[in-house]
Amino acid sequence: MSTSTTRTVWPIPGGIYPLDHKQQSLGTAIRQVPLPSQLVIALRQPSHAPAVLCVNVGDHVSKGQCLAQGSDATGLSIHASTSGTVLAITEHAVPNESGLPELCVILQPDGENHWTKLPALADFRNYDAARLISRIAEAGICGLGGGAMPSATKLRAALLNKVHTLVINACECEPFITCDDALMQASADDIVAGIQILLHISAANRCVFAIEDNKPAALNAMRAALTDSGIELVVVPSIYPSGAEKLLIYSLTGSEIATGTLAVEQGFLCFNVSTAHAIARAVVHGEVLVSRITTITGSALVNPGNYCVLLGTPINELLKHAAVDQTKVSSLIHGGSLTGIALTSNNVPVLATSACVIASTAAEIPAAEPEQNCIRCGFCTEVCPVLLLPQQLYWASKSEQLQQATTLNLHDCIECGACSYVCPSHIPLVQYFRATKADIRIAEEKLLMANQSRARFEFHQARKAAEKIQEEQRRATRATLAHQQLEQTATPSLAQAAIAAAMARVKAKKALQDFAAAVDAASNNLTTADSQADNTAAYLPNPDQQDDSR
């Protein structure tokens, strides 16, 4: 197989062509940021599960030492970005959508930058997939493109589903961001090594490297590095959002990924180019994830560009280093201009997903205009890359018609922001959709909880009723016995006692049947009630026992 750039590319539906603002951060090579006086290392885990700490306050840690681990195999390991002392483990503001503080390790660097590297697995072909995946997990590699999904989790899923195509995403379609571009120009060889490792692990029979046509320097660097590697290089047209995983797979192969399924379930494994680079560093060089390339850009900066930053570096240090003119900053954005989040404070650290920080002037990114009424122009429908009807979804979201929103496939929305970008009425459509998605999730959780509680309550009621009958039964039997003894001493009447005993038996049997029916009904209500059904036997009134006691 030879590398080629002439190949069918399926055009994605919709999409927008915003001003890319990429040139301003591409003037210089990647620069280093000096060691800050304090590092704030966020311990965020996928799905908000609490991290398990490996260090205590006051401990001295070396660069690359594990600070915290996930509570299970799907968790993410977090490492010290430099050597120093743990000052505190506390909640600190981080760049997130909620603006709420998260648990962080505050690290005071000692200036030595003393590395503790893992043993290098330079000949990665000698190791099996499981060994390499455990190394990637150990190194705390997660999706650096913005997904933040632990790479080990993704690769384990790839092994369960047979992967045929590995897609390396170097599109970087969002305005302002150039960190992948700079990385490709600087370390193409490491990227190729990372791709080879991913190919070795996933055993995919082909690999496609996708890059947008607005990065000529990176394209040339990659073309040179990929020669005779067996990896296909495909140039896709520059359109936002061409880099979204499912859309990119469609552009490259024409295969659409079905609603509600993952790309990996259909045999496609997609990795960002910077993640491939981080994987190569972890496997070949034994370096855990402690730094990344971040684009620091915007017209309010004198020295915009790409910087190699340690994770946990406060963003205000970065801005200071890029010579920010505070008077000109109108908005501070973490991430790209279309999907990023506006920061209210610059005292937040760099995360693994921090591809870009924008300090923009009012002219560059104007403040949001007030929302006006929908004029039904249909622009949003034309640009939607996943062929939804944002206008209809907007009505459903606004009036909180969750069922209608689901029917209109709200869950296929990739929140790219193209609809909000073109809306002439400045309606923040994506925010409506996100809120509605949250409402649907909460409603589903409530329903699940209610069904579970109902099943448990009905079981509880049935158990109480059965226990009551059983108790009455026991009393009746005891009374019969007492009478029997009394009559035996006076005028014995065995026949009467036999009748009473038989009636007692019938009553007990009936109670048992009623109870079994109630249990059946309760356990049918909910599939998760299995465990309760197992416990049923323990509560069943036992008619044999009744007979014995008599």
Binding site: S98, T436, M449, N451
Partner: protein
Amino acid sequence: MNFLTAYSPYLLLLLVLPMIAMLVWQLRVVVRVVVREVVRKVQKKLSYKLSQKLPPEQANDITIAAIDALLPQTQCGQCGYPGCRPYAQAIAEGRAINLCPPGGASTIKALAALLHAEVIPLDSTHGTESERKVAFIREAECIGCTKCIAACPVDAILGSGKHMHTVITAECTGCDLCVEPCPVDCIDMIVALTPLQGWHWQRPQSLPLHPHLISNNQQGQSGR
């Protein structure tokens, strides 16, 4: 003359027939109306029969089940009924739909939609809507009296006599019924999710519209 007398019945017929035809033509309107009425009556009878298919008590059961499906199943009794199902029955018999604090506004809205009733605010005499809470036993203080276990409507408390009890958080409905019987007051009701876990996107706040916007033709007033 001979001709006229000989053919007079036919001539008469020739005169009368068009008149009859015209009359029938007029009558067709009447016929159509009559037919329509008959069809309507038959349909009405049929639909009546369809609605009568279920015995009334069974139809009522279905209504109660539909109402019960919308209630939050906390079994807390704050509505004044000993559980969600009894309250569902009461609603089916005409009780107000706004007595359920754990369900709150969303439950009232869903009930109103089901019963074609008006959406009304929560009756605050029965409690106020709050975020989901779960019971938490301060285990060091628990004396193992099993009173909370007996009180729990969903069997979400684990333990036995003279041994420490604990709450299965995932099963706890936050009904509050275990707090009262505890003789040593070692049960707290705590918020189930941390602020970060509970955070989610909110809809943008609808801004008051500007009077000069084209979408508003009422000068100086907010449009809608």
